[in-house]
């Protein structure tokens, strides 16, 4: 908490911000107020379209041409941002406030070396050449880059995403600003890299004493990183308070509902469905009388629809709800409709020694190494791994989109599947379908929903005419797509609805296996829960098997029966979900588990991984993981590749360490 006399690092007061879109002004921030004390870290959380990025831009006065402050003020370090002259504004951005963006690859200039870009920051502040060069080197050291001289001479594309983001943070901190704005700084990064960057930010806060505005959609990340948190809904704060209090006992129904959408630790689909939030997010600029959340709230009273609640203080925290005591009294949502545990079915899909090598200009790149697995009807196999682990290639190989190397074998039922999709029989193609990560590109934007589904039914089920029209309707209804959306184009649908349409298309031919390639990673938390429920329900009804690729361990734990951990194209661990989460873990699995930020309990000790994922082009002797492994114990790891050992029924891992020395949860 900040004292009354201290000047806050950032003070936003009754900020109303509007964009002019197609001649109409849409207000996207409605009287946003927040203060961040010196050295404090404040998390601003919200789903897409809630105005969090606009808030960040407004706090830097980076106004797009069609944006306008309707009312209110922004003070940084006591200075009113919108009353400064251009020159003063430039000074302020140079000395007092900095920003780090989501995509470090785009924030850095690709044609200048890192050293040149870093020196520039010092030169703008009026330092001389030698001093700037020393400053640049020093900053890289402070963001824990081991050999700064090597990095200074590199171009951005020669660095990994995690290193790029370190450089961006170094640039932002070079002027020792009073306020640092981080806009989704780890969203594009892999779990272990994300953990590294988050740790770095936490350490730097201690070093520099910088106040932080941390903008994110990820509740767990914010819970770990921030002292105080504001939940943004429909362009206004719904609730604000100390991070721990707020996540432990929310006082706004939206916060409570959001938290319940996340699979709780250990929750699995057999134990019941996830909670969802009915309805949809208000579209930006929508005019609402009464409470913006009233239509989706479980506690709505008549008063909520007529009278907009104000953000009011309730003992050290603030909530925009008329009846916060009701949420406090309410028990956590009950679970319903558990899906029964299945009897083990015979193997439906069998991969035997599957490898995949791509020809590149640098030579052959083997991205999958002798992968063998079995998938049973009605079963979900979760595939986990960082980017470059071969998850997506595995999906393509199974679908026949990328023919695997000769020597391996894929069997569907009793028949061997041809490697190339074009050589597979119609029934074999129909049997394996996919739900893509990004529903944006998965649906043809020139075709209406009923046409997209209708065509899939024609080609995969041979339907036509009235029968087809009836089936389109029933299929979409079973995906909970309302009839009023049947004739519209994808651009008129929300992300969640688009994904439902994409799922409907995947199920048009009654597939036996559906590959789900990160199907919820592009979606908001409240939408993710509904999609996961839908997938679980479809599986229970049709006993379809899923290959579920994801980087989100919470999601995988909820949906998967078995889990496979991939690293550089090799299976490092495979077992039932319970076995993989309980341990003994492979050291890599352990690092993955510990790097996932969590809402529950205090932050654990992270198992930090050294360095970066090696390139697939590098030929490594010994265990593939030895270059980053925290448990490497000797020369054996570097010379002898460990075999995949099954040490308890159904649970195998690839490590030289004896099982009883491996970590457990």
């Amino acid at each position: 908490m900040l004292s009354a006399t201290e000047t806050p690092a950032l003070e936003i007061e009754d900020l109303r911000f509007a964009y002019t879109v197609r001649g109409r002004e849409r207000e996207v921030l409605h009287s946003l107020s927040l203060r961040i004390g010196r050295g404090e870290s404040y998390g601003l959380v919200g789903e897409s379209g809630c105005g969090k990025s606009t808030a960040a831009l407004a706090a830097m006065r980076y106004l797009p041409a069609n944006g306008r402050i309707v009312a209110g003020s922004v003070r940084i370090d006591g200075r009113d941002l919108y009353r400064l002259s251009n020159q003063d504004l430039r000074r302020l951005r140079c000395d007092v406030v900095s920003m780090v963006y989501q995509d470090p690859g785009r924030a850095l200039n690709p044609s200048l070396t890192i050293g040149r870009q870093l020196r520039e920051v010092f030169e703008v502040a009026g330092r001389g050449g030698a001093e700037s060069a020393a400053g640049a080197r020093d900053m890289l050291r402070r963001v824990r880059i081991a050999d700064p001289d090597r990095v200074l001479d590199r171009y951005p594309h020669q660095l990994s995403g995690g290193m790029q983001q370190r450089v961006c943070i170094a640039m932002a901190l070079a002027s020792n600003p009073a306020l640092l704005i981080l806009d989704e700084p780890t969203t594009g990064l892999d779990a272990t890299i994300e953990a590294e960057v988050l740790d770095l930010i936490a350490q730097l806060r201690a070093d520099f004493g910088t106040a932080i505005l941390f903008i994110s959609h990820n509740l767990a990340v914010v819970a770990e990183m921030c002292d105080r948190v504001g939940i943004l809904y429909g362009g206004a704060l719904a609730e604000e308070g100390a991070a721990r209090d707020l996540f432990e006992s929310p006082r706004h129904p939206y916060t409570a509902a959001l938290l319940q959408c996340l699979p709780r630790a250990g929750q699995q689909k057999q134990q019941g469905r996830l909670q969802t939030i009915p309805g949809a997010l208000p579209s930006p600029g929508e005019i609402v009388s009464g409470c913006a959340f009233a239509d989706r709230c479980a506690y709505t009273q008549a008063r909520c629809r007529t009278e907009a609640p104000l953000l009011r203080d309730i003992g050290g925290r603030r909530t925009r709800c008329h009846f916060p005591e009701r949420i406090a009294a309410a028990a956590p949502g009950s679970v319903d409709a558990a899906c029964p545990t299945r009897e083990p079915a015979p193997a439906l899909l069998r991969l035997d020694q599957i490898s995949k090598t791509y020809a590149t200009v640098h030579g052959p790149a083997k991205v999958l190494h002798e992968i063998s697995l079995e998938l049973r009807a009605g079963e979900t196999l979760g595939v986990v791994g960082e980017s470059g682990s071969g998850k997506s290639t595995l999906a393509k190989v199974i679908l026949g989109l990328a023919p695997h190397d000769a020597g391996g074998r894929i069997e569907l039922g009793s028949a061997t599947l041809p490697r190339d999709l074009r050589r597979r029989a119609g029934d074999q193609v129909k049997a394996i379908q996919i739900v893509f990560q990004n529903p944006e590109g998965a649906l043809n934007r020139s075709h209406a929903v009923d046409r997209i589904i209708g065509r899939a039914l024609t080609k995969l089920s041979g339907l036509a005419g009235a029968v087809r029209a009836g089936r389109v309707a029933s299929l979409l209804e079973s995906m909970q797509v309302a009839a009023r959306y049947f004739h519209v184009f994808p651009r008129q649908l929300s992300g969640g609805l688009k994904q439902r349409v994409a799922i409907a298309r995947a199920f048009a031919g009654e597939p036996r296996i559906v590959v789900c390639d990160e199907p919820t990673s592009a979606l908001d938390v409240s939408v993710q829960a509904a999609i996961l429920n839908l997938l679980a329900e479809l599986q229970a009804q049709k006993s379809v098997a899923y290959v579920f690729i994801s980087h989100d361990l919470g999601v995988v734990r909820y949906i998967a029966d078995r889990i496979m951990v991939l690293y550089l194209g090799r299976v490092l661990e495979i077992g039932s979900a319970a076995q993989v989460f309980a341990g003994p873990h492979h050291p890599y699995t352990e690092a993955l588990l510990s790097s996932a930020p969590s809402l529950e309990g205090s932050p654990r000790d992270r198992v930090a991984l050294k360095g970066e994922i090696p390139s697939v082009l590098e030929r490594q002797a010994g265990c593939v993981f030895h270059s980053r492994c925290p448990r490497k114990f000797g020369a054996l790891c570097e010379t002898e590749p460990p075999p995949l050992r099954e040490f308890e029924p159904g649970h195998a891992l690839r490590c030289h360490l004896p099982v009883d020395e491996l970590g457990r949860s």
Partner: protein
Amino acid sequence: MSVAAVAPPAVSRWRDVRRIALRSPTFLSGAAIVLFWVGCALFGARLTPYDPLADDVINSLMPPSSEHWFGTDQLGRDVFSRVIAGARDILTVAPLATGLGTAAGASLGLASGYFGGWFDAIVGRIIDAFLALPLIVVSLLALTALGTSNATVVAVIGLSFTPIIARTVRAAVLGERELDYVVACHLRMESSAYIMFVEILPNVVAPVLVEATVRLGYAIFAVATLSFLGFGIQPPSPDWGLSIATNYSLVGDYYWTVLFDALAIASLVIGVNLLADGLEHAVRD
């Protein structure tokens, strides 16, 4: 806030494009000029005060007057009537040539972008070679070889536009080909032709349309140039390029025999370019 359960009308991207275009002064002024000339091409023959082909040697080379607004030419033909009626041939030949070039170029670009590989490499090299040739010189050679008629002019100009349209379409297709909806097509065993023309083509229509409009401007210019050189539209058509060719030696003393035809060509080209500009903005936004 109550969400009415009425069906939202299906709104395709084109409605926005149309609305933005119809609000753009650039697009509207271009459209006005082009529509004026299209009107002349369609109904000109009935609107002209004189027969554009009728000789009146006694009244030859009369300056503009209340009787002959734009004066008369060497044979005493009314220049105003000839300018109005002269829109017909050029506005037949140029759009047909553009249409031919667009259709051929779009097909080639779709195939080249979609199939990729060696096919794309070969087509790409051929396109590069074609683009290095000077348009008018090649057209003259081709027309000399094939003989001059409106049909050959359409064919020659159309084919000379094919490479550049193909290149535009190919670039757009390369972006589309990587999208997952194309993968979804493979997973339901669609034919290549279906994927190219039904799935991908609608998504690349916007750049094609803009490019075609730009090409139309060039086509008008090319047709006028060829006619001026005697290889385009043939007498007795009152075509603008042809009239300028007939009269340009008189321009010192009898400027009206050339000026109005030249202005007609210029205004039509400018009109089409304004149209293309406005369209490009509308498509981009």
